[in-house]
């Protein structure tokens, strides 16, 4: 196996998952366009594509776990790939959110004459930032602290405690998502209510989507920790999840200050 190769790199076996992911992406995009235009079967193709993409993610990453944890291909130098890759991915996500914060600032710093030159626009009943958003503001950083607790537990070899810490992290994350969902449901304005609604729901909505993805990632880390996959020297997947989680946390803080608090004044 790895002893028979005289280098410490990982030359992967041929895999069908890249092509299946591409086909899923093709189906998603074509289906999406069909859905948004008057073509039959668009919705079906779109959902088929999305399911295919999710399936590809599942099997691809299952294979990564098999190759790394079970087959031992992930030497220190191989680990650099996922490490730097995760960091760069998070940087690209920062750029993604930068765009939405720019959009929000563009419309709110110098409100157009067409909406009366004021922000928030007339008729928008903004959410009180000192109610649910203010409650959510300590919840997310607390779950960030819990993930740091989990990390320390892993490094110290305290495996059971690491599982408890990850459970705490995920629970806090779910509480946050629950509160946000509740507020979305009860909000007096919708995404169609002027540029305020658009920028608000786009920014907070994508943040919520990222919270859900991060929560899923952390749940998987929790399961892997429970199954004993993570060791104190080698837990790149966990670190990636933790970095992603801290990123999500920071984005929330920016959202709270600029959109909830400043945007409602």
């Amino acid at each position: 196996m790895i002893e028979s190769q005289r280098h410490s790199y990982h030359l992967v076996d041929p895999s069908p998952w890249p092509i299946s992911g591409s086909l899923g992406a093709l189906a998603t995009t074509v289906g999406g366009v069909m859905y948004m235009h008057p073509f039959q079967g668009g919705a079906r193709l779109l959902s088929l594509g999305l399911i295919f993409i999710l399936y590809t993610m599942f099997v691809w990453w299952r294979d990564v776990l098999r190759e790394s944890t079970l087959e031992g291909h992930h030497t220190k130098v191989v680990q650099l790939g996922p490490r730097y890759g995760s960091i760069l991915f998070i940087v690209s996500e920062v750029m993604f959110f930068f765009a939405f914060f720019w959009a929000s600032s563009h419309s709110s710093l110098a409100p157009a004459v067409e909406i009366g030159g004021i922000w928030p626009p007339k008729g928008i009943e903004v959410l009180d930032p000192w109610e649910i958003p203010f409650l959510n503001t300590p919840i997310l950083p607390s779950s960030g602290a819990a993930v740091t607790w989990a990390h320390h537990a892993i490094l110290a070899g305290k495996e059971k405690r690491a599982v408890y810490a990850l459970v705490a992290t995920v629970l806090l994350a779910l509480v946050f998502t629950g509160f946000q969902g509740m507020e979305y449901y009860q909000a007096p304005f919708t995404i169609s209510d002027s540029i305020y609604g658009s920028t608000f729901f786009l920014a907070t909505g994508f943040h919520g989507f990222h919270v859900i993805i991060g929560t899923l990632f952390l749940i998987i880390c929790g399961i892997r920790q429970y199954l004993g996959h993570l060791t104190k020297e080698h837990h790149v997947g966990f670190e990636a999840a933790a970095w992603y989680w801290h990123f999500v946390d920071v984005v929330w803080l920016f959202l709270f200050v600029s959109i909830y608090w400043w945007g409602g004044i």
Binding site: V113, I115, G117
Partner: protein, 128 residues
Amino acid sequence: SLASSASSRRHRTGEKSWRFANFFIFNRLRLLLSLSLPNQAFSSFVFRSAMEDEIELKTAPADFRFPTTNQTRHCFTRYIEFHRCTTAKGEDSNECERFAKYYRALCPGEWVDKWNEQRETGTFPGPL
């Protein structure tokens, strides 16, 4: 070479201040021209004195809050100010006539018509 560099420095400073003065005078001349010539782009209303047959042309004064070429916000602000003035001081108040002249000078007629219509239907988005 020190002396020559010093003299060239003086010369350069002189040139800069001359350029600045030129620009300043040019802008003043532009303003004077805009106010004195009967040009449709600059003037907005004509005032005839009863004593002499003299046409006095005026427009809204330059507002340092709106230094840009795009004067949309200036127009909108004057419109809002006029209506806030009439709400506070009552309709047909003399003090508000000043604001009325300003917004009529600055704003395109179509905008004023649209905003008046919005005010009547209660859909005007500005802070009146």
